[in-house]
Every structure is written in C-alpha cells, then in structure tokens.
Symmetry: C2
Subunit: 151 residues, 2 copies
DNA sequence: GTAATTGCGGGTATAATTTATCCGCTTTAA
DNA sequence: TTAAAGCGGATAAATTATACCCGCAATTAC
C-alpha cells in the first residue's frame, strides 16, 4: 500500500515548480534531493500527461502546464503510477476466475474510488502554501539550503 | 497503488472461512484458485497475526480466530502487506531530508489514515453475505463449482 | 506406539518491478 | 555555429513478489 519513490519524486518536483515559475531539471533535482537522471525520466511522464511543459535549449527548463491550483495529487499519482485501483483483478478484466461474483472486488472498487477522490481534493497551490508555512518553523533546514522555491 | 496478489489471496481465504467453519489449506486453495503452497505461506502470516487458528494432524485445518464480524479488511491487509502508509518516507522516519517541513507527508498521512478507516469499516461477515447474494446471480459459475462455502 | 495427516518453517528459484545511470540525438536560443 | 537543455532508448543493479519444495513437528486414528 505504498506509492513508489517515483511518485514521491514527482510530487516534490511539482511542489517545487508551484513556487518557481520555471526551473531546469538539474535545479529541481538538487533542491529536492532527487537523482537528476532519474528525475529526467519522471519529468517525461509528467510532460506526456500534460502536467508540465518542457522547453529545450539555452534558458530552457520546465514549467507547470497549468496553474498549481488546477494540479492535484491525483493528476500526479496517476501520471506516474497509473490508475488508482486497489485490486489487481481490477486492472485486467477477465483474468480472475472469481470476477463475476466477487464481493471483495466490489468493495475495493468503492474504496479505491474514494481514495482517488481524496487525492483529487489536494492541489499543489495549497500544498505549496502549507510547505512554506512549515518551512518557517524549520529554522535549521532553512539555514542550510535557504528556502524551498528560490534555492 | 495496488494490493499484492498475496493480499488478494488472503482475503479470498478469509472470505471462504467466513462461510465454512473449518477447512484445510488445500481445500481453500482449490476453491479460491490459489496455488496451495503459496497459500500455506500466507496462512502462516494470518495465523501469526491472530486472524486464524491452525490445527495440525488428521482432521485438522484452519478456522477463524474470531467471528467474521470482527475481522476487517484492514486486519487482513495489514497482516499481509504491513501498515497502511502511502508514503515511503513515512515508513522509516529520519531517512528523508525533507521530513521536517514536508507538506506532502502531512497530506498523505491524513489520506492514509482515512484509507485505513475505510478498510476497517468492512468486515468479512458482510462480505460473505454479499458474495452469497452475488453468487445466486452467477448461474454459470454455480453449475461449475457448486457454491462458495461448501465446495 | 505406529502410521497417516496436516500445518511449520526454512530455503530456493524465477519473474517482475523499481531504481538508477548512460549516451547519442534533437531542439532551441544566443 | 555552438552551447544548453530535454528526448528517448538501452541497460544494469537492487529489491520485491510469486511460487515451489522438503524435512520436521504436532496431532489424531488405529
Ligand atoms: S475479482 Fe479477483 S478476487 Fe475479486
Ligand atoms: S517526507 Fe520525504 S518527501 Fe515528504
């Protein structure tokens, strides 16, 4: 029942971008403690999902494809980890012999939908605000790196 | 965002036991389409978690350790897959450098708790009832195997 | 007490997935 | 034309999930 590290990394990246109009992958990787080559792969998925827009060449980097208010945890999680479905029997219909009468399936479907809705209720503008507030409290950290959005 | 097949198998086994006072692993495996050697491993976890009681020897098998009303999806999921926590940073505290100020962490913790509560709200007595009802509709299946609880 | 049954636990093998890195290519702006 | 930046394909390493096997321990029937 865990998100993968990829999902984690992706959320950190979007959170960073929510406070920074444009940034290079390398910058984000450094600031958010993510291996930069790996983050590059993740950004590709986010780009294909239409969450970020990329810009090549000198002065390039990536930006959010829409305002952070309109990007939810669900968007990012689904872009990276695929649809939120709790049961493996749910992914490939017709594979499970119990499918036609399975009460578990029905229940997990319902819970999964609720879970997805919870993810959808969290947007990155709010997250960025919360994190900014939390950062004020974390003085030690602030001294080390100098802030979230501005490095 | 998926349960493992082990979790699936475990739920099927408990569901079977909810309708059958006692059964051998082999029986459950056959009826629920689970590899029997694998199910044996899973049953061990369920046993250690105090969800089922095992009985060795002739006429042995396994039984539910308490009435199915008091066994929830959460019990089974946690016994097999470990605590319900969405974020890997949440499992081993002190590992993530962002930990002290991370807004994502806080949000995922909340969602994870709600998810756990949803799992805890489903018990196997209800599931068994639902499945029995669903089975009535699935005539084709009924003809093949003859029912859930009684083989 | 012996034999048959049934779960225990440890080990092993295989496959799948996750995590991470590398490199040549294309795009873009100066 | 050149340097910066992302693209995409390949690959390697680590971890986890799935499945199976076997000798042992416990239990019951005889
Ligand atoms: S649909 Fe496969 S076990 Fe429920
Ligand atoms: S605690 Fe590690 S990213 Fe939030």
């Amino acid at each position: 029942m865990q998100l993968t590290r990829q999902g984690d990394y992706a959320m950190r990246a979007i959170l960073f971008l929510a406070a920074s109009p444009q940034a290079r992958i390398q910058e984000i990787a450094r600031a958010q403690f993510v291996p930069k080559e790996y983050l590059a792969k993740i950004v590709q998925k986010l780009s294909q999902a239409g969450i970020v827009t990329t810009h090549r060449g000198v002065g390039g980097g990536i930006t959010l494809a829409r305002p952070p208010e309109e990007i939810t945890l669900l968007d990012v999680v689904e872009a990276i980890e695929g649809p939120v479905a709790l049961n493996s029997c749910f992914i490939r219909p017709g594979e499970c012999p119990r499918e036609s009468y399975c009460a578990i399936h029905a229940e997990l479907e319902h819970i999964g939908n609720t879970l997805a809705r919870m993810f959808a209720n969290v947007n990155f503008a709010d997250l960025a605000k919360k994190e900014a507030a939390l950062c004020k409290g974390a003085k030690a950290w602030r001294l080390e790196t100098g802030g979230v959005g501005e490095m």
